[in-house]
Symmetry: C2
Subunit: 217 residues, 2 copies
């Protein structure tokens, strides 16, 4: 296991669940559909959800948090970002030991507004492809005006850690004979059947990347 | 639609998605399995995921954020909490109009540590039942020592708002003839088949609340 990149990314509670390996961090960031962005506004904490995308060592944020963050942002705004994937229920014999299986990343950094048109366009493509891989090429291309009207923030993926809980329940030695069921129940974000827009042009088939939509890495 | 309870809960971006109705807020908080808690530590924002439970007008937080928050908490700590449920992909013709359907709550408040033993035990029951309704009665009961060793924080559900996006894509008038598929793909947290703990006592059946596990309200 690699070392924590900073004091505040050192996992103190249940440190056996800590993961500082960058590849593990990237997999979680890539699979998580959304993330939560925290920042300080008028001296108070604010947490807002948003869509993100990772491009190498940079995390891009799209949309509403950017608009609110932008008001607080001059030459950079300190943020904390969490992306969490819930993998299952952990059903223990003891109420105290019930838990969830999950994979979670916490990132600290300074968010900057992306102004460079090329970087911005690449980030918007990455965000689209993060949500629906394959969709960018099938979409009506983004105009310069649309790109200008979109707020994109960027944060270096540097001061980051992950926490993972997997596997079955851990009960106390004396509890294994307690007469109740114990185990796990897998949970995951699953896609249903695509629902066509009523205004859809006749004859356009559902693309494969939607019928087989699956975020699992 | 009710009014926003405060200036900072007023939805500024896409205000047509704002929901200030408390019942709508409660449904989202109750369905969301986890939430993200933001607070300020050493002058910087921190966002951590946790399990929560709502009891009437109070949101209880369990576990790791409490332990980290507790270090920053003397007589109360300002927090911002987000709970977001992703309901689907919104697949528009224009890359610019791709979106997600979601229901999201943002809550502001002052977190207090729950010290009263009765309130604490009720909160721990609520957290267990939030994750798995029906589980508390089937579990080995919590001991006083376990209750003492658990950190529970409480926040009044008062300064709160919700934001909801539902329905199909909204494309620009000129784009409806663009030759690509458009519509929505439903997404939801789905449960797989329960996996028994290998150490499970023979003959204990899987309870109904796990085989039929479904968070949808």
């Amino acid at each position: 296991m690699a070392d924590a990149p900073s004091d505040r990314t050192t996992i103190r509670r249940l440190p056996e669940r800590a993961v500082y390996d960058r590849h593990a961090v990237d997999v979680i960031l890539d699979e998580a559909l959304i993330c939560q962005v925290g920042f300080i506004e008028d001296g108070a904490p604010v947490v807002i959800p948003t869509i993100h995308a990772r491009v190498d060592d940079v995390l891009y944020l799209h949309g509403s948090p950017a608009s609110r963050m932008l008001r607080a942002m001059k030459h950079g705004l300190e943020v904390s970002i969490n992306a969490t994937i819930v993998d299952g229920l952990v059903v223990a014999r003891a109420a105290f030991h019930n838990s969830l299986n999950y994979r979670s990343v916490v990132l600290f950094g300074t968010a900057r507004v992306v102004d460079d048109p090329d970087e911005k366009r690449a980030a918007m493509k990455a965000v689209t492809e993060h949500v629906i891989p394959g969709r960018w090429a099938d979409s009506r291309p983004m105009t310069d005006k649309e790109a200008k009207g979109t707020l994109i923030a960027a944060i270096a993926i540097d001061e980051v850690s992950a926490k993972v809980r997997a596997g079955g329940p851990k009960d106390d030695d004396g509890d294994y004979s307690y007469p109740t069921w114990a185990g796990t129940v897998p949970l995951g974000l699953r896609a249903g059947d695509p629902i066509p827009d009523p205004l859809l042009t006749v004859g356009v088939p559902v693309p494969d990347y939607l019928t087989g939509y699956d975020r699992t890495m």
